[in-house]
Symmetry: C2
């Protein structure tokens, strides 16, 4: 739900502290967009502190939240390899601190630092493997099952994330989310 990658963060911290690798730091306020959809960038980011949402919006104004990204999560790296403009939008939810690496420096690290190379690949493998069961579950089960699953995986959910973000994450309307939460509440009372 809120993904993290401590292993990657630790390594980037080391790199940042050790030498001049072209890694810089940047701060963002809540609701600020770090990356916009369909634009081109020359930076790869790694979250040092805070939470963002990663989402796609379509022509009809519907947003679909891919993932909530926490510490150590990388974004903007896919476009280094695909050569495409950004396919999603990254927006800060909390106060956010990110590390920033230019494409050039990122590629240099990839080629010359085996550990970095392996960590980047592992991060991508993780993205692939957590998307699969989520997609599968969301398609196959009703809203209620998905809410219960989320609450179990991440109990503090509603403290951090707004209702409409949760709805957009589950791919349902706010109305449906509220209705289902209500049914769950009443069922627990009896």
């Amino acid at each position: 739900m809120i993904r993290t990658n401590p292993e990657l963060l630790t390594y980037i911290n080391e790199l940042y502290n050790k030498k001049n690798n072209g890694i810089t730091e940047e701060k963002h306020n809540p609701k600020q967009r770090v990356i916009e959809q369909n634009k081109r960038y020359n930076w790869v980011y790694i979250i040092k502190k805070g939470i963002t949402k990663c989402y796609l919006s379509d022509e009809n104004g519907k947003d679909f939240i891919q993932e909530f990204l926490g510490e150590g999560m990388e974004f903007g790296e896919i476009e280094v390899f695909s050569g495409n403009p950004s396919f999603c939008c990254i927006e800060a939810i909390t106060e956010l601190v990110v590390y920033k690496i230019s494409y050039i420096d990122f590629n240099t690290l990839l080629e010359n630092d085996k550990k970095f190379n392996r960590l980047v690949i592992k991060a991508m493998a993780a993205k692939i493997s957590y998307k699969a069961p989520r997609h599968s579950y969301q398609q196959s089960y009703p809203i209620e099952d998905n809410i219960l699953r989320l609450q179990q995986l991440f109990p503090k959910l509603t403290e951090v994330i707004s209702k409409s973000d949760i709805a957009n994450y589950l791919g349902v309307t706010l109305r449906s989310l509220n209705r289902t939460l209500n049914q769950l509440k009443h069922r627990n009372e009896n």
Copy 2:
């Protein structure tokens, strides 16, 4: 819909023909499973010829098709990096020929062959970036829109892929798929 990766296939072909890299060939008949869910393997595969489906099944017997994989597509590589057992099942749809590389040889290539390394990363980036819009679209739009989208992206769909596979790809029941196809047909007749 049926993903391919010609660039990777070309390179693996070269490797296979050139020297002894530990790459072997293997054939499978339709409906045969190359990889089963939750099992451990020591092989990475690349499709030389044919089509497979990649799907997750859950406790309740529901199958959700992640993707149809065609020539040049790689599978089993995620587990090299995650260290987990296979998270999906790969089943041949047509006659299938695959290249097979052991984890050891795969890792050796990754470390020593920069082009191979880059192609594997690119393949993973592609997987991430096509999953996102698909997931988004399927969650946000009704079955009809999704069928129309599929028909446009891949007109010969129903010739190759069974109805129930299409339903499992869209995450809907066969009944709903049929109903929607029927509605579309009647609408076109008038």
